[in-house]
């Protein structure tokens, strides 16, 4: 038996004709000429090897096969319409799922207000935020667990990741009010590392840059405390147990407003914050939209969440 292959346009024409009860109005509705519709129906009937309408010049009535096909065609067209609608919603970034991997300082500070604007009016769009340390961020993007990442400029060796710089995030010295920084306008790394130092754990971007800075000034790096989470570091500083060097973006997260924060110089160290994504891969419309929104957002190095 030869395979019959219904054409959605023919089915649509058939349904319209069945509904309108005449070739003329149906053809007009479809934007076709009468003969075109007549032939389209004839083709459909021929393809199905069945008469679909009992018709003469005056009457038009569905045959039982036509009735049967009408039900099936309606169902199929409805399915098709639903599919188109879903796909259009996906294309318009109103539906789908965006997965963002990011450093904790970014996902906690920079990202939330942007996501809030992003999901507004997009009730069917899921956003998944993956907060992880910088190497894990790159891994998540490489493995496809995240559509893109927000991290400190780390280029993957294989060149499979592309980087788009967002901002330079300068380091600041932080201490408790009444602590050693009260009287200083700005702080040098040399001065800072001489104080009891609260360092971030290995594997964080902050740690890597902190070590680089101490190496650069030829100082020994002997932290008094070592913590994994920013909140802990902030709490220790607030308690006056030590000082630390942190990028501006982290300050809102640790409650920098109630701490003494001073620009950190000699050398001036900045964390290059940017987007990473798989090179050569098209992003989902929703992910692209979120990226565009991030790029258009004001990028205050101090973290605009503090504003």
């Amino acid at each position: 038996m030869k395979r019959i292959n219904p054409d959605l346009n023919s089915l649509r024409a058939f349904v319209v004709l069945a509904d309108s009860g005449g070739f003329r109005p149906a053809a007009e509705f479809l934007g076709l000429s009468g003969p075109a519709l007549s032939r389209q129906i004839a083709r459909l009937e021929d393809g199905l090897s069945t008469r679909l309408f009992d018709r003469d010049t005056r009457n038009l009535r569905l045959t039982p096969s036509g009735e049967e096909l009408l039900a099936l065609a309606r169902r199929l067209l409805q399915e098709a319409g639903k599919a188109v609608e879903e796909f259009e919603a996906f294309l318009a970034a109103r539906r789908g799922r965006v997965s963002v991997a990011g450093l904790p300082s970014i996902t906690a500070g920079l990202l939330p207000p942007i996501i809030a604007r992003f999901v507004a009016g997009r009730p069917n769009l899921d956003v998944c935020v993956l907060d992880a340390l910088s190497d894990k961020v790159a891994a998540a993007v490489l493995e496809g667990r995240a559509d893109f990442g927000l991290t400190a400029g780390a280029s993957d060796g294989a060149g499979r990741l592309a980087f788009r710089k967002l901002l330079d995030d300068p380091f600041y010295a932080v201490a408790a009010p009444g602590g050693p920084l009260d009287d200083m306008d700005e702080v040098s790394w040399e001065d800072l590392v001489a104080l009891p130092f609260i360092a971030m754990a290995q594997g964080t971007s902050v740690r890597a840059l902190t070590e680089a800075a101490t190496v650069q000034i030829g100082a020994a790096f002997e932290p008094r405390f070592e913590v994994s989470h920013l909140a802990t570091a902030g709490a220790l500083v607030a308690e006056g147990l030590g000082v630390s060097a942190l990028p501006g973006l982290t300050l809102p997260v640790i409650g920098g407003a109630s701490l003494v924060v001073r620009p950190l110089k000699a050398p001036e160290v900045t964390r290059r914050i940017g987007l990473v994504f798989l090179a050569g891969r098209t992003l989902s419309p929703a992910a692209q939209e979120l990226i565009d929104l991030i790029l258009r957002s004001p990028r205050d190095p101090l973290g605009h969440a503090a504003a």
Copy 2:
């Protein structure tokens, strides 16, 4: 926003390409040349205003939009396949519903074995048998409650019903063994109506023909009993309460084998049994199939169920 109209063939090509991971094998599978498939995908992408594959000469990978469309296309194609399958089943008379209206003598005698053969191997085909008196049969067909009818030749005045003769069903005289017919080879209407007569109720084809016969011989028609159902008539006859004149098709229904049955002559009265259906209307494949089966079946006027 312009209306996008997916073509099932394009979607099929897209799915095949996504599954086979390369243009060459996909094109071969689809029975197309490479360029044809390339353009088909390009058209699809153009129609959707989206890139569906990230591709260079060596790699072919779905974009997120492609992944999304793939799921939707699979679903839609599966729906389409199911619809085609259902429709083919309908066309092949393996699915659907046939509604037959018929005189009780036919629906009880002639029809059951035919229906038995008809539904064999058609588990999804519903058969609805409507047994009714002759005028109700015609009405059921006219009103569309039955696809066709099996009745005694009655033509609707408006000519909206077509009749197709099946057989001539001659009348027989019936009586109980040990009754008045035992010694006779054949019986005349005149002899029969002189005996205690069991008549069918008004509105039955049997009654109409019985009355016509008595009028024809100029006799009075004074039935001793009058019943609506054949089984009752048969039981009364078997009990020796009277005789009756019944068409051959009714005999198996009333247990004619245990009665005395004699050909009834002078005049020879026959009931024209045939199919009625709406003129100019195409029948459903299943109904047509059942009709063909009826036409091909042996038509023993005595009722082949007795064989």
